[in-house]
Structures are given as structure tokens and as C-alpha cells.
Symmetry: C2
Subunit: 347 residues, 2 copies
DNA sequence: AAAGCTAATCTAAACGTTTCGATAGAGTCA
DNA sequence: TGACTCTATCGAAACGTTTAGATTAGCTTT
């Protein structure tokens, strides 16, 4: 900018004023500045600018796994939203590791991001202090943090699972396996209660041996499904709490020489683009990824636009059961009508 | 830092020296500084630091679509690699739009990223100047730019397609449809020549009516497949140049009441995690995403570590045909042995 | 024609670091 | 004891912007 000023024979203040349009600058000087900028190929240094004005127009986004289609989609939507708003987004993946998360959030905060979107990992208590100390707005995505009252957008996990289980019950299934993630993240807790309550609601008793917990990876889904399907009285249906684990579960089904839906019905959390083009066409619980991404972005943008001390907002969106053909009715029960249809509704 | 210095009754220079370990500072002062830092909760401002030292420890990464599993995987690997090296990565998605790309690269450069990884979009000529003007190292990913001699890592697209087509020929297919993207990006050009030459190599003539061009989206794959399968003498096999388009193609097959592989064999570019668990289990051309990501990162890191004016490097990696069960042998030809097996080899 | 506006431009101080060169004190050596 | 070398610390300038306030010049107004 100094060079531009010299070349245009004006002060740097005038160049700055011209570039930012903060003050009117005369035709003549504008022309000279414009020309100097072009000749020199000047580009404003956003770092120096950030230092001075105290804002970087950059946000930090940290998610567990970008290869999990749910996060892929949400990240994509968030990225687009901030792109439109003129923000850059720094992306971090924690790989479900608490230390990574800590390190990465520190890194983002060091870099003076204007805001933070966190789909957290591991134990929530650890994050509490960090979030409270960060003096930038934070919005929590998908996973809440106990005792932290910041903006957040989450799914109605309870309802979503309740609905899915109820659907299976209606088909006549009574022994429904559930592959979950660890309960240190809120969605897994809520999904678990959804599972329990759907059973109780149908007058069934909860059987602990039908739930297996993994670490959300494909391999965990595989071993969990292996265990479930090796039970003496194996489940006739399985619900997986996320997408990577269902891939593992399907492999287990295949490796045991079983097939879906003939031998075991399957439902999984999170929809994916080709669910209805390959077989079995999986019945899924689709999260409204577009809305989740947009709402998350807009909560943060609202804060960034100055609405700093409005009370914190908690948005909860509904999942939707996408019925395809990975669940078959069990003849035995289909006619008994034990379970009514009243409890099922999607959206 | 000023506050820390005051609280510890030392100069800011000493605080800086202590933090960075650039000079030895006495036990006594170290203690006072350490304590002041803790009390105040001081965090170094990386923006100010960057301004001074001229490096941001941040790189820019721009890809067409993060939801395309190929890019999802590569982005994931790249992100991890830079994370390990202590760099942050700013992610941009261009959505195959030239203006977005231009805007985003400007944005990244403004923010003084230390390096840039670009999986470009649209017409390459447009990017040439930008890359040459950027005074940071650039590595081109997946798609080269004519006349730009920067570091890059690409697939041997010619070989990969040649191999896939040869495989289909060996199965007896003679009319092989090809769904491609526009030829303004290098991989599409190379894949096209691979297709042609595999045919010529087998003594067949190239039939223009069997290739349909789309814009790499699912919808394009759908219409392209619709057209191909509506030909009076429809192809018995289809190769899709990327993953989103094959989803469209599979939908077209389904909607026409056809099935794969009985009525039409299918191969597509880019592997995905559940390819071998749903049916038809797609035969794919797997790109070595892990290696691609790692090599890309390491080329850039090498430059960032000071190896600035080594001659530019062009890494080309091999694809691998993952044979599953989406292609069936055509009885008619299987016994004639027109095509020899000699040309097929994977890896 | 003096005084008062307004518009255009400039000067200089910040933003929070790093780093060069200066300084002061404590040893060491002849 | 004086000259010298370390070692630990500091002062101040820089990095490239923005911006508040000062200055100047050109108009009105009376």
C-alpha cells in the first residue's frame, strides 16, 4: 500500500480510504490510485487489516470425521453459507480424539477466528471451560455440552429413534438389536432413551444384551453386529446409530452368510445419496442436513453481525424415517396388531 | 503480551523471548512470566505474529465438491497431514464454478495463506495467471493446468480407463457407453483417450454416439444414461467418469426397468466404502486416495520447508480396477477370445 | 473581504507481535 | 585494575493496515 501511495503520489490514508470507500476521494486521485494498484498488482494484506480492525472474517469448524456422510453434507452446507457471507472457514477433523480437539480449538482461537462451530468429541466437561473462555461466539453442532448454554442445533434424537423402533415393532419385530456409540455424547444418550421408550411404550421389556456400544467407526459396527447375530436368540432387526457403523454391520451380515432383509432387517442413522439405488435399499433416519447446516451457519452469522448478547438459542430439528426395503414384516406378528400405527409419523 | 510484561515486571521483548525460547531467560524471570501468563490467561495473537514474521501457518485448499467421495477422502487425508505439521487448512468448494474459484482463491491469497492446493474447475487458462502471480507455492491436485508448470499430483487416467475398458472387452462387450465430464479439465481428456485407445487396441472403431458428456453431477449421469440406454442398439456396458454421475446412471437403469449387471454392466471411477456391501457391488476404478492426499501434502510441505526453487514435480499415481460383480460376461464373445488377456493388469 | 462551511487530503498513532542492536552487570584474564 | 567476553535484559523499530483528528483549499454567506 505504501508503494501504491508513492506511485500515485498520495498518502497511504487516501489509498486506504479509496479502497474501502470510507471517504470520497476526488476523480483525479482515484484514477491515479487505481492505475497504481493495477501496475503494481497490489493486493490488500488481510492479516494486517485483521490485526488493526480486530476481525478476521474467518470461522473455525471442527467435526469428528469428514468422511461420515452426515458431516460431509453438513460441512458442505456450512461452507457454502459462509462463503456467501464472505467468510473463510478453517476446517479441522478431530477423528473422535479429545486431544486433537483441544489442540485444534486452541489453534483456531490463536488464529483469531471470529466464531467457532464445534461438533464435539469425547467427554463434554473438558470442553466447557474452553468454550466459556473463548471470547468469540460458539455454536454447538449435533452434540451438546452439559452445562454450556451456547447456541446449538441438534436433532430430536429421541423422537427419531422412537419412530424408527416403533416402525420395526409394527412390522412385528420384537428382538431389535441396537448398535450405539459411547454415551459421552448427547445424541447417543438421547437415541438410547428413544430406543428404550419405544420398547416400553409397546409393552416390551428392555433387554441389555441387545445393545452393543462401539466407537462410531465401521469396524465397531462390524464387531457389534457379529456379536448380536451370534446370540442364541438373535435379533430379527438391527438399528445402527450412525452410517459408518452400518457399513460394518452389513459386512457382518454378509460374512455370516445372512442377508438383509430376509434374515435381518436394518435401519441406520443418516441418509446417503445412493441409499435408494443399491440393494438392499436401506431404510434410514434422514437428518435434515441442509437445514442443520443452514441454521448452524445462520445462528453464528447472527452473532457475528453484532447480536452478541441475545439469550442462547437451542434449535432442535426433526429427523425423518425414509422407509425403503431393508426391513421386512415378520408374518407372525403382522396380523396380531399388538402395536398400533398411531405412534408413527414422520417429519 | 504487554499486560503479561507489566505483570511480570519485564519487557515485552523478554516475554517474547521466553515464549519462543529464542534467548535464554533466567529462572527468576521465567517464573514470573509463566505465572503472569497463567493468571492473565494470555494467548499469543497469531495474527500479529503472522504480520511480523510473514507466515501464517495456514494453507488454502479448494476443491470442486466436497460431497464427491473422491474429494471427501482426499480432503480428509490432506487435512490430517497438515494438522500433524501444525498448519491450519482453509477449505473452499467451488461447486464447479469458475467465478467461485476465482473469488475463493483471491480470498485465500488475501489471507496470506502460505500455500495453496487447487483441484481446479472450468477452463484452465483462466487459472494460469492467478497461479503464476500467487507468490506462494501451489500444488495442483487431480487436475492440471495447461502451461502451468507447478507441482502436481494426478492419476494415470489413461491407463486406468484403458484397463477398465479392456476388462469389459474381455468380457465380450463391444458397445460400451461412456459418460464423461467436459473436456476442459485434464482428467476427462486423458480418460477419453484411454477409452478410445482401448477400443482401437482391440481393433474396434470408435463410435461417437456412445459417449455422452455431462457436468459431473448426478443429474447429468442420469440423463446421459437415459440417452445411451434409449439408443436403438443400446450399449451392453457403461463406464462413468465419476462417482456422482454413476449414481444418476444407476437410477436411470432402475427407472427404465433394466437391471445391472443382467442388462447392462457398469463400471465407475472412484471407489467408495460400501461398494462391496450393497448390490450390485460396483466394479470401480479406485484412485489411491490416501497416497494422493499424502503426496499432495508432502509436496507442499516440502516447499513450505524452504525448498522453494527446486524444479517442479509431477507425480502420477496408478488407479486400480476393483473387480466386483457389476459386469457380466457376454456369452457370445467370451469364447471367441478376440481380446487377449495380456493387456489387463491392475495396480 | 472576512468568517464560516464543506470536502478532500494528510499526519501520526495505533493493532500485538518479533527482532536487531544497545546496555548493563558479572565473570575472566593478564 | 582495566580490558575483555559472556549472559541476560531491554528499547525501539518494524510488519501493513485503519482511523481519529488536523490541515488545507475552495466555496458560501453576510
Amino acid at each position: 500500500m505504501l508503494h501504491v501511495a508513492e506511485a500515485a503520489r498520495v498518502s497511504v490514508a487516501t489509498v486506504s480510504a479509496y479502497i474501502n470507500g470510507t471517504t470520497t476521494v476526488s476523480q483525479e486521485l482515484s484514477g491515479r490510485i487505481e492505475q497504481a494498484i493495477r501496475e503494481i498488482g497490489y493486493k490488500r494484506n488481510a492479516i494486517a487489516r485483521s490485526l488493526k480492525i480486530g476481525t478476521t472474517r474467518t470461522i473455525g469448524l471442527t467435526v469428528p470425521h469428514i468422511t461420515n456422510p452426515f458431516f460431509t453434507d453438513v460441512v458442505s452446507v456450512i461452507q457454502q453459507a459462509f462463503d456467501r457471507a464472505g467468510y473463510a472457514v478453517m476446517l479441522c477433523c478431530t477423528d473422535e480424539d479429545l486431544n486433537n480437539q483441544d489442540e485444534q480449538i486452541r489453534l483456531l482461537l490463536d488464529r483469531m477466528v471470529d466464531g467457532l462451530i464445534i461438533a464435539r468429541v469425547g467427554d463434554g466437561a473438558y470442553l466447557k471451560e474452553t468454550v466459556e473462555r473463548a471470547n468469540v461466539p460458539v455454536v454447538l453442532l449435533d452434540r451438546e455440552v452439559d452445562g454450556v448454554d451456547s447456541d446449538r442445533v441438534v436433532l430430536d434424537n429421541h423422537q427419531a429413534v422412537f419412530e424408527a423402533i416403533t416402525y420395526l415393532l409394527e412390522l412385528g419385530h420384537r428382538r431389535i438389536g441396537y448398535i450405539t456409540g459411547a454415551f459421552n455424547i448427547t445424541p447417543m444418550r438421547d437415541r438410547m432413551t428413544g430406543y428404550r421408550e419405544a420398547l416400553l411404550n409397546a409393552g416390551l421389556t428392555f433387554d441389555q444384551s441387545l445393545v452393543r456400544s462401539g466407537d462410531l467407526h465401521e469396524a465397531d459396527g462390524y464387531t457389534a453386529a457379529m456379536q448380536l447375530l451370534s446370540l442364541h436368540d438373535r435379533p430379527t432387526a438391527i438399528l445402527s446409530a450412525n452410517n459408518p457403523m452400518v457399513v460394518g454391520a452389513m459386512k457382518a451380515i454378509r460374512d455370516l452368510g445372512l442377508s438383509c432383509p430376509e434374515d435381518v432387517s436394518v435401519i441406520c442413522f443418516d441418509d446417503f445419496p445412493w441409499a435408494d439405488v443399491f440393494n438392499p435399499q436401506l431404510t434410514t433416519i434422514a437428518q435434515p442436513v441442509q437445514a442443520i447446516g443452514e441454521q448452524t451457519a445462520s445462528l453464528l452469522l447472527d452473532r457475528l453481525n453484532g447480536n452478541r448478547d441475545a439469550p442462547s438459542r437451542r434449535l432442535v430439528l426433526k429427523g425423518r424415517l425414509m422407509v425403503r426395503n431393508s426391513c421386512r414384516p415378520l408374518q407372525a406378528a403382522v396380523n396380531t396388531g399388538i402395536v398400533t400405527a398411531a405412534t408413527v409419523s414422520s417429519g
